[in-house]
Symmetry: C2
Subunit: 166 residues, 2 copies
């Protein structure tokens, strides 16, 4: 029996939860684990992108644009694809634009729409960012490769059940 269990905040939460006779202990443990892993992972990812003046949100936008056929997408599409609020897109594109990585372009036929178009500096940043993220294994070093696959696999069912895709 490992002494370290006593220091694991998830294990401690499980103990407290049981002692209080609160329910769904397994789900609580899983939820807490997920939250903590997400926190650590995100911190590592943002740290890796920081030297480039990017955070993960900005990187995601650059990646999405660089994948697109024309290197440009309407603001709304970006929000849909990345599942973020339209206001966040406005904010993110504004910052990327200020840094010269992206430019706003009027939509040729729809006067309501604005296209965000990636600039060459943006493509470079996306490529370098992708390499930086690959270098740190997307913040997931320490997660067994087999477990990594199992997690991704296990989450497909959850995401589908919860409408992340059809």
């Amino acid at each position: 029996m490992s002494r370290s269990v006593a220091h694991d905040p998830v294990a401690m939460a499980v103990g407290n939860w049981r002692r209080s006779e609160w329910n769904a202990v397994d789900a609580m443990a899983a939820a807490t684990s997920i939250t903590r892993v997400h926190q650590v992972m995100t911190a590592r990812i943002d740290a890796a992108l920081k030297p480039l003046g990017l955070n993960f949100s900005r990187f995601e936008v650059l990646a999405l644009l660089s994948f697109s056929r024309e290197g440009q997408l309407p603001m709304g599409k970006i929000g849909d694809r990345l599942q973020v609020n339209a206001a966040s897109v406005t904010n993110t594109i504004g910052r990327l634009e200020a840094d010269g990585l992206v430019e706003r372009v009027a939509h040729p036929t729809d006067g309501r729409a604005t296209l965000a178009r990636i600039r060459s500096a943006g493509r470079r940043a996306a490529k370098i960012g992708a390499a930086a993220l690959a270098d740190i294994g997307f913040g997931l070093e320490g997660l067994d490769p087999v477990d990594m696959g199992s997690v991704t696999e296990a989450f497909v069912g959850y995401r589908q059940h919860n409408g992340d895709f059809d």
Copy 2:
């Protein structure tokens, strides 16, 4: 071969990543999965707590205090246990205090320290909140119980490797 794969944003990201010859595709897929699951789960949890005027941060503080021997802890300890910034604790305790769920008390022997003490309304809120979260399975409905265990298990290694505990 399921058509739905084409609509899964994670699967789409995998395709784009490969096409661009960017590396660490498996880690990218896992990281993206984790982020999306965390988002959905958090939204469900916050929605379940909203009727109580709580969010997850506030609930966590109430739960932690209700687990403590004296029903009170120094602000600093709360931050340590929940792994959040001291400024966040100040903010959260301030809101809980405004709602009458918690009160600030001077530390009996250390003039620098402030104790946050849970009030009876706070204990009630914690208990009701815990029941609400149990009701929704901590936002993890749709995650196979077996997979839930595997995920928690797989993440222990990651968290330990990344200093979440010793």
